[in-house]
């Protein structure tokens, strides 16, 4: 096993069994994954024929229903990182894993009560359309595109690196090959099938993931006669932390400000993630947007409950299988450090323990599919930022034709795909754990304040939004770079400069304050016009009237 893990020789595709003990699982995983690929290729071929205009490309022509979109959003949200990551965190420290899940989930009430329907009424392709509705095109689009591309790059790197390593373990592929496979599949889906293919890939994957998670959690509970407390009791008995599993850990209570800060970024970041917000333009009306949120949050909430069961179940059951560890001590004291493949693999091993090689194969295939689907969604949002914001509205100033914009967005997709593969390879041995957190912090500190204030506060002006947005972006980024996760863990300095890793508690209020301050002090003629335009914006955001007539400005 170890030899295989360290092996960097270029292996022939699928030749190496992933688990020494369960070579069988590898075959079923590969078969199921190939079936998934074949299915999604058919969908892409079907979607390609329907993808003619920019509206088809970015938003599937607005023809997705609320239920379908809810599943697609849940698919985007239940990435491999959040499924395996949260199950792994529960495996390591019990209760603390729940905190992350709740933070991610509480992004949804925020999205629903503050932005979802208005977003749908005001924009066409992405959230930059909304911030540029009454404010000046160029600065708003540059801000939105900068923040979006930064978020997408961070997310892409985190997914590619995590995914590459996971696939090395699950399928026995070489790291570079798995990264290239992910990149190529993503480019095919997005390039040919646009949002229609991306959405359907995401829907299929979400259904598979929900089904697989349900089965896994059910098998775990069945092992404890359907008594969750018996499972928890067993987990507490075998875990080195004992009853502390049930309580907030030292990492949280030792630094309450950091916990608070993380909580804010998780809850407000969702309403600023470009690839999530983009999904609200794929439905036909604000009413369908609303339905998307209820389905999305139900599926996500349900899935997180499953993840808790899976995480605690992994603690309780995996120690009965010493073959999943490299030298498990008799008292389990090293159960966190010796789990093969690291603690993020807890859910994967668990599927093998309770469901055998078939369930392991299924879960491995779904995880691979998940990564491809999430990466495709990110690439599409990135292509929209480049082609729709930077090219069509900033460089060409709205004088480009739809055909030109479409061409640029397809070129962007290819460039992003190649870039994702290259970055995935460059960052292979880097510590990328901070990247998703930073992406959420930037989304919460730059995109979210600008979006919310531009649609709900009359006084918001271009000057305020631009300065506030860039300040939030710069502050959050700088803080994270100077914190332990980057300054010490990546750059190797002795002491961090930021007192704790998460910037949200300062960067989010800072952005709001700066937008307010630089808006109220803005006495320009442009500011007066922008405040006057708020009435028309409100009418549109509240009623959706006139949306169909909204063309490129």
């Amino acid at each position: 096993m170890k030899k295989f893990l360290l092996s960097t020789a270029l292996l022939s595709l699928f030749a190496q069994p992933a688990f020494a003990a369960t070579g069988q699982a590898n075959t079923s995983a590969i078969v199921m994954f190939l079936v998934f690929i074949a299915g999604t290729m058919v969908i892409t071929w079907w979607a390609a024929r329907k993808t003619q205009t920019t509206s088809d490309f970015y938003t599937a022509g607005g023809g997705i229903t609320g239920f379908q979109n809810g599943l697609a959003i849940a698919g985007d949200y239940i990435s491999a990182a959040s499924f395996l990551g949260i199950a792994g965190m529960v495996y390591v420290s019990g209760f603390d894993g729940i905190i992350y899940a709740i933070g991610f989930l509480f992004g949804w009430p925020v999205v629903m009560f503050l932005v979802a329907e208005r977003l749908r009424n005001l924009g066409r392709f992405n959230f930059a359309d909304v911030t540029a509705f009454r404010l000046e095109q160029t600065p708003m689009r540059v801000l939105a595109a900068s923040a979006s591309l930064l978020i997408i790059a961070l997310y892409l790197i985190a997914q590619m690196v995590g995914a590459g390593k996971l696939i090395v373990l699950l399928f026995g592929l070489e790291y570079k090959i798995s990264v290239i496979i992910i990149g190529s599949l993503m480019m095919i889906y997005v390039f040919f099938g646009g949002m229609t293919a991306t959405t359907w890939v995401q829907i299929i994957k979400a259904v598979l993931m929900l089904a697989g998670g349900t089965l896994l959690a059910a098998l775990v509970l069945m092992a404890f006669n359907w008594n969750p407390d018996a499972m928890l009791a067993e987990a507490v008995k075998v875990h080195p932390s004992g009853t502390e599993l049930m309580a907030p850990g030292a990492g949280v209570s030792g630094n309450p400000l950091n916990a608070l800060s993380l909580g804010l970024a998780l809850a407000f970041g969702t309403a600023g993630l470009p690839h999530i917000l983009m999904r609200f333009f794929t439905v036909s009306s604000a009413k369908e947007a609303r339905k998307s949120v209820i389905w999305a949050s139900s599926f996500i909430g349900y899935f997180y409950l499953l993840t808790f069961i899976i995480g605690f179940g992994a603690i309780a059951l995996l120690v009965r299988h010493p073959e999943f560890y490299s030298g498990l001590a008799g008292d389990n004291s090293n159960m966190l450090t010796t789990l093969i493949g690291g603690t993020n693999m807890a859910a994967v091993h668990l599927s093998n323990a309770v469901g055998g090689s078939l369930l392991l194969g299924f879960l491995a295939a779904v995880t691979f599919a998940t990564i491809v689907a999430v990466v495709a969604g990110l690439a599409l949002a990135g292509a929209a930022a480049i082609a729709h914001d930077l090219y069509a509205n900033v460089i060409a100033r709205g004088r480009s034709t739809e055909k030109q914009e479409m061409r640029i967005s397809k070129i962007s997709t290819l460039v992003l795909g190649v870039l994702a593969v290259l970055l995935g390879i460059v960052f292979e041995d880097q510590n990328v754990a901070f990247m998703v957190g930073l992406a959420f912090a930037i989304a919460a500190s730059a995109n979210f304040p600008v979006l919310v204030l531009s649609i709900s506060w009359r006084g918001c002006t271009t000057r305020g939004a631009t300065i506030g947005g860039f300040l939030g972006l710069a502050f959050a980024t700088l803080w994270v770079v100077l914190s332990k996760t980057v300054w010490v863990d990546v750059f190797g300095n002795a002491e961090p400069i930021s007192p704790f890793p998460n910037p949200g508690i300062f960067s989010i209020p800072l952005a709001f304050f700066a937008i307010w301050f630089f808006s109220v002090t803005d006495k320009s003629a442009r500011a007066v016009k922008e405040r006057d335009a708020f009435t028309a914006l409100t009418v549109r955001s509240q009623t959706g009237i006139g949306r169909s007539g909204a063309q490129d400005h």
Partner: protein, 102 residues
């Protein structure tokens, strides 16, 4: 053309009612969501002992784990209630406005 539609909507008697009621409802929901969420985060950050206790004699499950599960449910319930309000109250108002204006 655009302006006349905007003016027509603004003059519509139900428009002010729609905006006012919808703003009030979504702000109230947002406040409740924020209270639940920040209550949860503040408790675990500043009063971890409260969450560490088992929910009863003979139980392993702690107050924190149970609260976490309930908080997950609360998010979905709040969103469902909001959708119910929107369908029952706001959509009829909105439909009336759209019908008169367009």
């Amino acid at each position: 053309m655009q302006d006349t539609i905007v003016e027509k909507v603004l003059k519509h008697p139900k428009y002010a009612e729609l905006v006012q009621r919808r703003t009030r409802v979504s702000m109230a929901f947002f406040a409740v969501a924020l209270a639940i969420y920040s209550g949860f985060i503040l408790t675990l950050a500043y009063m971890p002992d409260v969450f560490a206790q088992p929910i009863g004699a003979g139980w392993t499950m702690s107050v924190g784990v149970l609260t976490g599960i309930l908080v997950v449910f609360s998010a979905v319930i709040m969103i469902s209630l909001y959708v119910y309000f929107s369908n029952k109250i706001f959509d009829p108002l909105l439909d009336a406005i759209v019908k008169d204006v367009e």
